[in-house]
Symmetry: D2
């Protein structure tokens, strides 16, 4: 424990310590399939740079995150953890972490107010470094714990949304430390969104519903990295994506990728599924309810729980029922449904929270192995110091080392450039006067 910090495993707030064995088993499975975190990163941390440092880990608290936390702890760090979303914590994992000597403040069922309280408990441990997701802890420390905030040595951030928030802090002159935009590393955003989000979002939706993707019309709102990853997988599984976008370049990419591009008003009436992926708020809200088909299924794949405006849906509905685990049905009366005729059923997955995490298993292990390697390397870099105040990305060399470690584990060998493969024609440039 760092002197003066509040770090103390005994302070942990979790649901059930007896779940630890189950949690340990899940973490062990994740470890076996995480060669980069368990190998490359673990080796890199042996230099003692994390020894005795207090590190807050505020990412969805499940097995892959727990593996990262234990690797940091094995390197001598005092780790204190909470979930980055009030609905995504696995209680068995939380128990296993506490059993390992990590301070945890998180439970799956306690809801928003408890989640806020847990984040502040982490803040009160006065971490020197944060591994954050959505900048959820960083923002709260900036606002509610300004002294501890000012003392931070650095933050590494997982998501697009979180990096935008850090940028807003920096723009307003209120980012007094070095931050690592893990999201901007190649080994994070090139893999996580394209392969991980697509697979895991579809998997969660199909698991929750036991439905078939072939032949379904899926309206995807937002064609950033997340939206396009989902659209690729929808199309691969025989579905028909309709993309809603506001940016012309992204819209043109969506069209060239073979998807229908349409304004939301034209798209929604065709939707069997609607998936939000804007990174903003209220992509589907009151003015859209009248456009939805009876029986439509809504899911959210963006950072916010509020892309699907469940509050507005609840206000419009005359009845809300859980019709299947993870599926709430909002019955909209004819007036609210806008058709003037029939009552309408709108089914929402995972309460509008990130469907692949709150309603599924989160990203595949191999994807988080890459992402958490980036986070771990970034945290280690910040701990070693030498970065100026502001937002950084790990160096291309480190990025490449992570990719190389992953390839090496898979037995993949790359080629080497030979001397005679350079661009000869440009050599004569050197002769020009």
């Amino acid at each position: 424990m760092a002197d003066g910090s509040g770090f103390d495993p005994g302070k942990s707030e979790i649901a059930d310590a007896d779940l630890a064995p189950q949690g340990h088993r899940a973490i062990e499975w994740a470890r076996e399939h995480s060669p980069v975190v368990d190998g490359f990163l673990r080796q890199r941390l042996t230099d003692g740079a994390l020894e005795g440092r207090t590190i807050a880990v505020v990412v969805h608290l499940e097995a892959k995150t727990a593996l990262l936390a234990t690797v940091l702890a094995d390197a001598g760090a005092n780790v204190v953890a909470a979930g980055s979303n009030p609905h995504s914590t696995r209680d068995d994992i939380a128990a296993a972490l506490v059993d390992r000597g990590i301070e945890v403040h998180s439970t799956r069922e306690s809801g928003y107010p408890a989640w806020e309280k847990h984040l502040l408990a982490v803040a009160d441990a006065e971490p020197e470094l944060i591994i954050d997701d959505g900048a959820e802890l960083t923002l709260r420390m900036a606002k509610y714990r300004p002294d501890a905030y000012a003392a931070l040595a650095g933050v590494t951030e997982q998501t697009t949304t979180g990096v935008l928030r850090l940028q807003r802090l920096a723009d307003s002159g209120n980012l007094p430390f070095a931050a690592m935009a893990a999201n901007n590393a190649a080994c994070k955003h090139l893999f996580d969104n394209r392969y991980g989000t697509g697979q895991s979002t579809l998997q969660a939706m199909l698991d929750l519903t036991n439905m078939l993707m072939a032949g379904k019309v899926v309206v995807i709102i937002g064609y950033g990295w997340v939206g396009r990853g989902i659209a690729t997988y929808v199309r691969a599984l025989g579905g028909r994506p309709m993309v809603v976008e506001v940016d012309p370049v992204k819209g043109l990419e969506a069209q060239m990728d073979g998807h229908v591009v349409a304004p939301i008003g034209d798209a929604l009436p065709h939707a069997d599924f609607v998936i939000t992926a804007t990174g903003g708020m209220r992509a589907v809200t009151t003015r859209h309810f009248g456009l939805l088909k009876d029986g439509v299924i809504l899911a959210n794949a963006g950072h916010h729980d509020l892309e699907v405006d469940v509050a507005a849906l609840g206000a419009a509905a005359d009845d809300v029922t859980e019709v299947r685990a993870g599926i709430d049905r909002y019955h909209l009366p004819s007036t609210a449904s806008g058709t003037g005729t029939d009552r309408k059923r709108v089914d929402v997955l995972a309460n509008g929270a990130l469907v692949n995490i709150a309603g599924g298993l989160g990203h595949p292990i191999e994807i988080m192995d890459l992402s958490f390697a980036v986070q771990g390397v970034g945290c280690h870099e910040l701990a070693r110091g030498g970065y100026e105040t502001g937002i950084h990305v790990i160096s291309p060399e480190l990025d490449a080392e992570i990719a190389a470690a992953k390839l090496a584990d898979g037995g993949v060998t790359l080629d080497q450039l030979d001397d005679d493969q350079h661009d000869e024609i440009s050599e004569f440039i050197d002769e020009t006067p």
Copy 2:
């Protein structure tokens, strides 16, 4: 004609002026399917900025390039043109351009020395602006026409290779004007490489050979934008890509995209087709010939004619025969083939020149409509002035206007962000001390 410049259509060197009607027809077909160049760009050039300016267009001389040249000429520019490759000029197109009053120095069959001469003839027209491809004219002016080079108002460049060459000029302190990296605009590289190169390269290879892609092993050397576009289409058509890469991040992307990744020595023995896409030199050369299967087919998709080292192949062969239009067969004796046993047939497409251009129709029209809109807008920006010496990219706003023009022509409507879709949670940042 700009005073003092060498511009003069009468000086043109082309194969056959009588082919003009056929050329006009091809350009008209291209025009009909180029709404952005023929609409948005044409409209943008009406401000008179190009009036009387001498512009060199040194891009593969076929119908789409010719459309760009005529739109520039219609805007009042004096256009002088040559091909960016000695094998890719269409003689009917050259004739049509001369008929339109454009000075052209290019013929399809005259080979390398004539091509070099033609480029210098264009240089001698003393252009103020260059629309270049591979920086072929720019490099030659730097070396052989230093005074005209020093007087240039600007260059816009089409390719990755060309931008790298401009960068080398800049690094060596020898880029005394503003350049536009057209390749770096979203409307160029996001579309050209992913959709255009993939389709047109496969199309050319299948046309030249009348072969089936389903079930074929295709070794792709280089997994940049070009290589991955090709790999995507190979896989889409039922082929099995094997990717050779030196960069770990690109190698990992290739693996996640479902391709086999292997060093060249492991990959070549499996190849039915080999496609080079490195942007460098001699990707397949003497040390590889022994690894090739009897009957393998080699094609190049990179900028250089020398990625497939046809000179070395010729030196190793005991016989070279054209076995089909566009297919040369190199018979390698048993010693050169390295197996110590049999003579081996190696078939090379389009003499190792860019296969989709020298052996096919080049990019689809719609792709060049976007790319040439970027080139035309870049040239117009440079003509209007105000850019500092160095390498620039057109602004994101102009990029978006091009994409929007393309979407609008296709009748696609985008959505609009509503006020309540911003990220509320970060609002409280403003309150932090």
Copy 3:
């Protein structure tokens, strides 16, 4: 209860009657997404043909099967049910069926001997008609209850394996009734295997493991309808299928579909996953263990639990541990692993039972809506009588009606042939002498 038959809901053997409400909810969700069974079939059964008939339903006992059973019961049939596999029954569904007045003999956890006993209990209800899966009940009645077998009015059969077994019964002169090969109807085999098996098998494997498909080598043993459905989805999700086949036509199809085709000895050492889909026995058994990679994951998608020879694995292992829910790890000593060096981990999903059912949710609802419509229509046809002894398929007209009902529910309209679209050239055939 039919006079003289043993049908009696009160005789049911299930795990926990209190689970009925949860079961009812699951059946209701299935009903909402089964327009053909709940609409077209339900309507077709209103003619009274099933009134008072005893029908055995021996199909994996989960929500979709339960819906079929209730629709039959609603039409007046006495339904008695058991599972077609000892590991696939959902206890909540069984409870809901009993609550609905259906006799059920099945529990999830009781294993093989209990399953055999349950099947005989169903036989003792003396059904007139069987809706069977794998001919599991039919075979047992033929052997153990010959009098009741001889009295059967008909059987409809779900699977390829089951139809082959019925054919063997017929070939040996021991099929004394009309049977319907539901599997051979277009609305069954064209959809179930291609879309249903592919999606649900991948979904189950990825859910059980939380792993990524992109980049994985998946050895698929057998390229019948099931194997090719799986291979299509593996490739769609970025995996690399290697197919093992014994039939040249199927092997060539696999190759043209872009997959690697290889003998099992060459394929297994590359496998990250192995999926068996032969319909036979012991596709992976003792002689193959030495070829497997450490950490390989085995799953079965064929009818038999014994395609992955778990008994032989157990005999070879020095330790077996459940490392994650649904994943058993067999530790093979160095001698058994054949490498002479290291101990090896082999992970088996769902104990080698059908992975999409025993380890997942079974087929998507929409697929079973089609398959069970075929089964229900076939059963109704047999109940109405008029079919000769032997194996039949529902008529193309009935097949088309099922497809039309599904399309109509999705709002899809087909086209109509116009009179002038026939093949005129062949008309003059009628004039020939």
Copy 4:
């Protein structure tokens, strides 16, 4: 020459005998990539069964067909050939065949009446066996040369349309010989339509137009084997298929394959391209012209030249112009276009003939290697005799031998079933009473 037959190479009617060297070169290229016809078939024909038999080959006369003809001639047959379509003959190939001693009646440019005359000239050679395509020669012999028709030893037929026509002959009691439905062999229809037609149709369309497939809406009329092959490739290349079908099962398959299914009236207004694949007549005719977009491109992939009703288009147009090689533009006046407003451009590829043959290179060589192996084996079987009058298919064993020969050439090894892989559970059936 068979005694009494009219076979005589000297009677040949071709365009230009001097083109033979070019034709030989093309046939040689085809031979190199046809291991099954050049190896397996050639070997099988060494039994002398074709010695001295007169065989008519009436298939599109290009290099792959010519290879089959020469292999038959090498086996001692007297081969007489004509094209199966008036627009698809390659004059260089015809010249090479005559140079080889084969009697040919065909020229590319002479049109319908000459084609009919050429077919009768082949009939007058009194062939004993026909290798037919669309039953074009068989039908004409039945009508115009009844005696020679009655004397036929057999016919093998290439296409779905042709087999239907033979069936109509048989149904009317006018098929007095054994016929082989080559189309129904696995090695023909499983490969030709799925892989060959899809690739070659798209290739021809993109070559003729130099357009991009990504983002295009392609209306495909007919979802038989041809239509679905095309739809698969359209989707693979980033296009968006809309399928028009009259059969519910095929319509449902199209929907599950991820395509939009709609009646022709709803589909046509969205079409960038329209492809007919019905096997019938007038799929796009007068009543549809008003629904087409200005600038739409029409192509035919079915057997008939009249699926796109070019005669009706010509009658409706006020102007027809060839705007590019292989592209005719029909200008429809506002009245004909039905919109009451603007004149409309409708572009037709390859004059409505089979676009992949008349406007492209035909099927890939590897596909025809399989199809012609089936035709050659079928012809050989008929020559050996022993088949009853009526329509046959080559045996599954021969089918498998062809596939095995193709795989063996590609170095692919299949697996072998082991004794212990049979279905043990069904063994006890033998014990039942």
